[in-house]
Subunit: 469 residues, 2 copies
Amino acid sequence: MEDSRATSPSDGARAEAAGADLHLELSATRGRNDLVQALHESIRTGRLVAGTRLPSSRSLAKDLGIARNTVADAYGQLVAEGWLTARQGSGTVVANRAAVPTTPAAARPLEKTYRYDLRPGTPDVATFPRTEWLAATRKALTMAPNEAFGLGDPRGRPELRQVLADYLARARGVRADPERILICSGYVQALSLLGEIVKTLGGTTMAVEEFGYGLHRDVIRARGLSPVAVPVDSLGACTSELTGEGVLLTPAHQMPTGVPLAPERRTAAIEWARETGGVLIEDDYDGEFRYDRQAVGALQALDPERVVYTGTASKSLAPGLRLAWMVLPEHLVEPVVAAKRTSDYQTATIEQLVLAEFIASGHYDRHVRRSRLHYRRRRDRLVELLSVRAPNVQVAGISAGLHVLLDVPGDAEDMVARAARQGLALASLTTYHFNPTPATRQAVIVGYGTPPDHAYPGALDLLCQVLGV
Amino acid sequence: MEDSRATSPSDGARAEAAGADLHLELSATRGRNDLVQALHESIRTGRLVAGTRLPSSRSLAKDLGIARNTVADAYGQLVAEGWLTARQGSGTVVANRAAVPTTPAAARPLEKTYRYDLRPGTPDVATFPRTEWLAATRKALTMAPNEAFGLGDPRGRPELRQVLADYLARARGVRADPERILICSGYVQALSLLGEIVKTLGGTTMAVEEFGYGLHRDVIRARGLSPVAVPVDSLGACTSELTGEGVLLTPAHQMPTGVPLAPERRTAAIEWARETGGVLIEDDYDGEFRYDRQAVGALQALDPERVVYTGTASKSLAPGLRLAWMVLPEHLVEPVVAAKRTSDYQTATIEQLVLAEFIASGHYDRHVRRSRLHYRRRRDRLVELLSVRAPNVQVAGISAGLHVLLDVPGDAEDMVARAARQGLALASLTTYHFNPTPATRQAVIVGYGTPPDHAYPGALDLLCQVLGV
């Protein structure tokens, strides 16, 4: 045995025997578990290679000054786990196994860190109501029946479905029945489950607005459907061009162009669903945040048997909660429940109870009102500053949500690149386009939800510098 | 309809429709629960056989004089439980009993209420450490960086992945690297994502142990793969019969027969994966609970590049948490991350931070140790009582987990039915079999995790009465 192999000779116990020559790191207790671990380690690190014959339990016990049974037990354990092989007549041998694995592919490029981030899609997570959420958790954990910790209805906890039905009817005009609500693990899952249904029903495509999240198109593709683009103009999605077996719309506030779906197009969308039997999905991602007037009610209310309403806590509270909900037409309840069951069975129950408590206690409404005021002020400030310092920029869309679309003179991608060089993250409309061409509208999307309060003035100042030239 | 089928004509409501001709026992309230129970009973007793088409919810509602929603809800519940199948174009059909999934006891809140429930699959949710969980939540909510409330790495929070890597190495001998861990929304999602990968890689089948959860086979089917049965004997899965592009095993404690995978079969499973390049999934659902000796370490440690290790908090803490984890071979990290991203993007972050805190603070180990003692006592008591009062029953499998398999003389289904009549819920091995035949081993599975402490003696007494005859 070479001295260099002994990493800590003072603690090490040396065992030389007929079979192998072993250096084992054993703690002072020298129990069975120590021996198992030490042998594990020696095999793992390659110090003991496949085929090596180990000393007999008698001789190793003698060398280590421990009981023979202890060694026999440890060998037995390692044989059971497949590290060692016990062969009649030839003793205990290190089993044939894989080479020591290389350490991970951890080398992922870290994303560039910006001084200011005005990309859309996220609320101000710094305002997450931690204290109130903890209070609601305390109450939920105290009040929860034992069965809430088990598996239950794939639709989700009845407490939350009841509270949400009331809330959605009151706040968004949704015709909601708790029995038709399914709680899911974020909007991505809602879309994934509905895509699965469309596919199962024999569909091959799902129509999406030409501007939208690439992630959502990826979700549709992952379910085996082809996303198809529907043009968007100043009245929202062009409903005369709806097609396929499923359609995904953002009627209250087109993401990201910021226009609401015009009344006649709302009716046309419903007509399409009635005539074709297609699945019409209403993505009401930020319906709580309209600043100039009461938000347009949910499209779903026009025909609850034809529209799947989807909402989320991602904008109103935090995306990390992964809590979203669907209100389903009757004929889709069974298939969506079946798809949920084989996707993740049900969404985590404790957080559902916490959200139910959070809504029922009025915390949710208070947080939404507070956030609405907060975002409205941010938006007003942005629009005001731009009108003075970048008057060549046109603000598009309604006063709502967590982002604004700015039509810019010149090349939007260039502006985004210029902003990035100065430490400001922005998004161009192009990156939201289904199939961008040089003719795509030149616009920049500014999300004002993300920066913490202290950083907002600096972010706006830099934005005006970049856009004002 | 024959009169003889109506067991209680005076209470019965008759429904005749295009699909099936139904006679259902409904109580005066005629609520959804009554309907679920009545349908359940009709299917269980064989009055409604597999393939029978049920009336549409509209016509059954009319016949019974109840709301259509009530019928649709009841159908939805039974579809979720696997008793019925909803097929587009052919309505709702009684499912093939072989494929009836056995969901854990708690997943059936609306089912017949038993005095005692000894069905397997669920831990004692009454022991969920609410106070400690709340304390961990307080700490997690206080310490969490703001970005934890946003969207992040689809693999999950780094805090939890780090803590889990340490825990899994220490407690289960897993060769775990935080970069290769993916946190998912329960084990069902782990299997669903892996099924998706196997399918994407061009696979068509996934092999499962012939005894196991119907739910898991349904998950595999939902991903477009055909499950294929691998025989199980007293040494565990017969690894000489592994086949297809993916294999799902329960090496530490075969579910539900209770045997560990024999050492030479562990090696053979690894060999299969190396030779075929197939995805080998290790479902380590209850590895924490071995009572007679230290648990056999994870199969994954034999070749981390060939085995996907999966673990869950469902048995050690509570199924309702929907927290599970995968330790992935390097070549599967990217595809599984991509599949996770388009399924639900990431698992809810706050609960991940809470679990990380719960493990790091030592609460998890304490809870597992406490639970291990608790379940061990329950198991010992059960085995002891049976040896005296039902000596004709053979206890199979190792001393581990939350259930025990009992080989019984005579027909196991009859015993389960007799127990049910006396208010005791049990499961027969048949219901876990991939494709049960009259030759299927006659055995009853007793889950001792579920009943609250005060109910356990009564449950055991009744069990001995039923099995001891």
